[in-house]
Subunit: 600 residues, 2 copies
């Protein structure tokens, strides 16, 4: 393999020389900045052999470097061995980032090449800024690696599905009116929209072009009166063609977008989201029209779920919760009796979800991490590495589904045998934090930064932190991660915060990750609701969507105040009453037992 | 009086006509944006009769309006009666703010006058921006009201005092090096400094030109090699003249600053703090040099107290706490037996402070608010209005002193007789919040926005909010309010947050304010400290400086978790052991009783 990579790099270098490109950069992205990408876009993997989800390859005439983050250092070392590619460990002390590397390695007047379609405007402009003293030319208009990649998979092409209003709860036209109002309020005539989940939400369609994310590759160019949708012809069904006609959507081919933007006769300013629009299209727009940067209005509109969406989600979450309960019951009963691995456990879980009516896909690949593997936040078991699960320690299971009626995400850490008192302490603190955040009553205007400490404080009290946010927004039959809301504590000057609005859906997932020992995460999904309004303001609170027991075998009430125990007991009571109808008699009996109130 | 005001306004209007000024604006400020102002600067009061601490008068040829906030609506109505001045209730629905008023009242090409020295650069630029469509001329170079004000008090002139290094803990030269490093880091050659407490901190001097704030009217113009201080000659003692010479401070007359800035030969950029520099000086600077906006580096340096400052503060706070304990003891013993009013109680408290060695001044006028008066956050008892205090309800006492060794600020709400269960509930929730915030352990990087909810949540839980921040920074022998840190929850796009740094001193003062019924505030001062550092990061915590009992007569443990009760008991134990040496036998005996642990 390593020799194969060297040959591929040699071919790339000779093409670079031909095009007078001194350094060529290959990130991991599609044309829309999606979190996961289809095989067609795995150019970096093709030229480096590195398979991790995050990584950027930079190739010079004699050097080649790959930048990735701490999750992948060990894997990248193995996969890069013999390729001649140097591993740059991102965020480690003394390791230059890519702009720093280019600053010190590129000569004055040299050329940096990259496919401008897989780099965001924000990244591109940041590179421009950081390299401006170097008089560097950017060659971004061409995918130099294309043509060199033999048997490159085609762009994914799957037919899109139109959502009925019974499922979407709001017509495309209503949504479009709100979007156009936001465009006008921003003083813009046009909106260039390339964020796939935002487009799906707006049009009320779903696709299958990105694994686990039900989106279709597409671009939208929205004027105050027209709507141009750029999408592959193969994806347009008869149903969608009719729907498009009814909704005055002008369908154009996906590839036509560049040409269209080059020729369009702009009469006003174009609203662009620099974090999501790709650099190549941005350069066209900014050469032809005045661009105004801002956040996609679609993002915040989409984040607030409507009543129809919420009521579907409530139902879907109960069924999804019941599947997880079934899984826990099965695992506890069978562990130590039959051979179960991290992978077979995940498959069992996935199988339970597939049986739920309306199942479409997983919302992300199931994370099934046994014992110390759970300390890796994004552990991904492979057939070779999958650990055997025994009647000892704990299994962390983080999983979710895409259903016609909602996207789910839930994590439980399941006790399989004897565990240390220290682990119980950690587990209890995580549960206390999760329930404390859920119980928050807060004034309208709060953002996740105000509330994060409610989940984190029980752990900070014992000198432990989890190195990630407490929560992320969740899509509706869409991406399992969406913005703009989040529950995070860290501050950086200039950063934006989203006020928690009624109807936003968000995860609540504190955890403990002790390298080489154990990992704990307890994740519920919660909805922002309006509560009492009085002279002091509008109070808000959270409702819970997820109803799966929190393993009492790892709870030590010595670390709980009476209020914490009451919260857990109330939650467990609800878990039982809400999910029992989906369970067998055996499962119900077991659930009754494991949700019994703890003594205060 | 009202007729007198009409005459004064007539005189002002004829001078406005002479100067071709269509509208003239008189805010309440000195040349340095100080929170309180000396009598010399009370121009708005002279022309309106309105004596509140916040208010802006706008005069047109036929109209006159006064803008003030909710604290002063009733008072302003009375004081403005018969003057012909309209009251504009700030922040009420449908009430225009001043720029909106000017937008709709000023004609194209008209002139707006104001004394540019009492308007900040930020306010001035905001007016420019908001009136830019109107082609409005700004006449800001002259105090038009001057000359019309007969017997206007002179500028305050008090001799400055030089602090020894035993008191300041850091020499002026060391501080100046840090300031110059920040100037260089910002790419600037000069710093125009006009914030009085920052200047006092930097030079290690104190003045007496603003009531309760030990500052001297002055400006600093700092280059990378020189330091020009503009100060009234009458304030320069022989000692200070010597000190200035030793420290290479070039003393110039206070009035010379304008001329100096106009003639200076600028060779680089000038660092200015637009929120604190006045508009008149800014206009001179920006016409002559390139200005770079930023926060005064002095502000964040000053906020982090050094070891010497902290150890003096610890001692001063114990003595100050003991004085408050003496007051509470006296009040509880004598209420109902002798005539005590809000004002005489405040005087008694102030008298106890004056007896403490090193006493310089109060740090703000003592707030002594009985029963429903305590619901007004900034209640100011006057000889006419002062309520008689009886053996009923509660007295809220918010007070503090300036000592050679620190600035204090403390609030207790003291029970004098029977109180409602509802009030006990509120009181208990306030105490729980205050102690919960004090107990926070948090990662370095947190700002007040992350922590505010710890104090507020017990009240939000019962649908009550206090309409102010939880805490403000506190100066060292300086202003009782200082930045940049604060404990607040509200978010607005673009706002800045200050990370809580080791050595910052901050108030912790949740409260309940029920109009017409009662007010509760419990305020301790806390210091940010470094705690454990591990692989998860640097943990921080708070130490407490204030040791005064929290009135157990208003505590209802039904609203406390065991952890809350433990915190209160631990705090009370410390109150006793730390302050007893300053108390008489009688007081000690009483304190022992009121700090006994509550049962869990």
């Amino acid at each position: 393999m390593a020799q194969g990579i060297q040959r591929r790099l040699a071919a790339l270098r000779s093409k670079m020389a031909e095009k007078k490109i001194d350094y060529y950069m290959i990130p991991t992205s599609d044309f829309h900045g999606s979190e996961s990408v289809d095989d067609h876009f795995k150019v970096r993997e093709y030229f480096s052999n590195f398979t991790g989800s995050n990584g950027t390859l930079v190739i010079g005439a004699e050097t080649a470097g790959l930048w990735t983050d701490g999750r992948y250092f060990i894997q990248a070392e193995k996969e890069l061995a013999g390729t001649g590619i140097t591993l740059f460990r991102m965020f480690e002390e003394g390791v230059p980032d890519i702009p720093e590397f280019l600053q010190s390695n590129m000569g004055d007047g040299q050329t940096l090449g990259f496919d401008g379609r897989v780099v965001s405007t924000k990244e591109g402009k940041s590179l421009e800024e950081k390299l401006k003293d170097r008089n560097i030319r950017f060659a971004y208009a061409e995918d130099v690696a294309d043509g060199l990649w033999e048997e490159r998979p085609d762009l994914p092409k799957h037919e899109v599905m139109v959502l009925s209003e019974e499922i979407s709860g709001q017509s495309m036209q209503e949504k479009l009116r709100a979007v156009r109002a936001a465009m006008k309020a921003a003083g813009t005539e046009y909106l260039m929209l390339s964020k796939l989940d935002d487009l799906m939400w707006l049009i009320n369609i779903r696709g299958k072009d990105v694994a686990c994310n039900p989106v279709a590759l597409s671009y939208g160019f929205i004027t105050l009166h027209e709507f141009y949708l750029f999408i592959q012809q193969e994806e347009v069904t008869e149903e969608f063609a009719r729907y498009a006609k009814d909704n005055l959507i002008e369908i154009r081919d996906y590839e036509e977008v560049t040409d269209f933007l080059q020729r369009y006769d702009y009469k006003g300013r174009v609203f662009v989201d620099e974090g999501n629009l790709n650099y190549a299209l941005y350069k066209i727009l900014t050469q032809r029209a005045e661009c105004q940067a801002g956040d996609n209005p679609t993002e915040s509109l989409k984040a607030v779920k409507n009543q129809t969406e919420l009521s579907h989600m409530e139902k879907v979450y109960l069924k999804d919760s019941a599947a997880v309960i079934k899984f826990i019951y099965w695992l506890k009963k069978n562990v130590g009796r039959e051979e179960i691995t991290e992978l077979s456990a995940a498959e069992y879980m996935d199988g339970l979800r597939r049986e739920i009516d309306g199942f479409l896909d997983l919302s992300f690949p199931t994370i099934s991490a046994y014992k110390e593997n759970a300390a890796m936040m994004h552990y991904d078991a492979s057939p070779e590495s999958a650990k055997k699960i025994e009647a000892l320690g704990m299994l962390l299971l983080d999983s979710g589904g895409q259903y016609m009626g909602g996207t789910t995400d839930v994590t439980r850490t399941i006790v399989l045998g004897e565990i240390d008192p220290e682990i119980k302490k950690h587990f209890t603190k995580v549960a206390v934090g999760m329930l404390q955040l859920t119980a928050a009553k807060f004034l309208y205007g709060c953002t996740g930064r105000n509330l994060d400490i409610l989940a984190r404080q029980p752990l900070w009290d014992i000198g432990i932190d989890y190195k990630c946010g407490t929560g992320h927004g969740i899509g509706y039959i869409l991406n399992v991660h969406e913005g703009p809301q989040g529950i995070r504590w860290r501050y950086a000057p200039g950063m934006k915060d989203a006020v928690l609005e009624e109807g936003m859906v968000i995860s609540n997932e504190p955890g403990v990750y002790i390298e080489g020992s154990h990992g704990i995460r307890t994740e519920n999904i919660i909805v922002v609701r309006k509560g009492e309004k009085n002279t002091d303001g509008q109070f808000m609170y959270f409702d819970t969507l997820t109803f799966v027991p929190i393993d009492r075998d790892a709870i030590d009430t010595a670390y709980m105040q009476p209020a914490d125990i009451e919260r857990l007991n109330r939650y467990h009571e609800e878990v039982y009453t809400r999910t029992k109808e989906y369970l067998t008699e055996e499962e119900k009996e077991w659930l009754k037992e494991v949700t019994k109130p703890l003594k205060i």
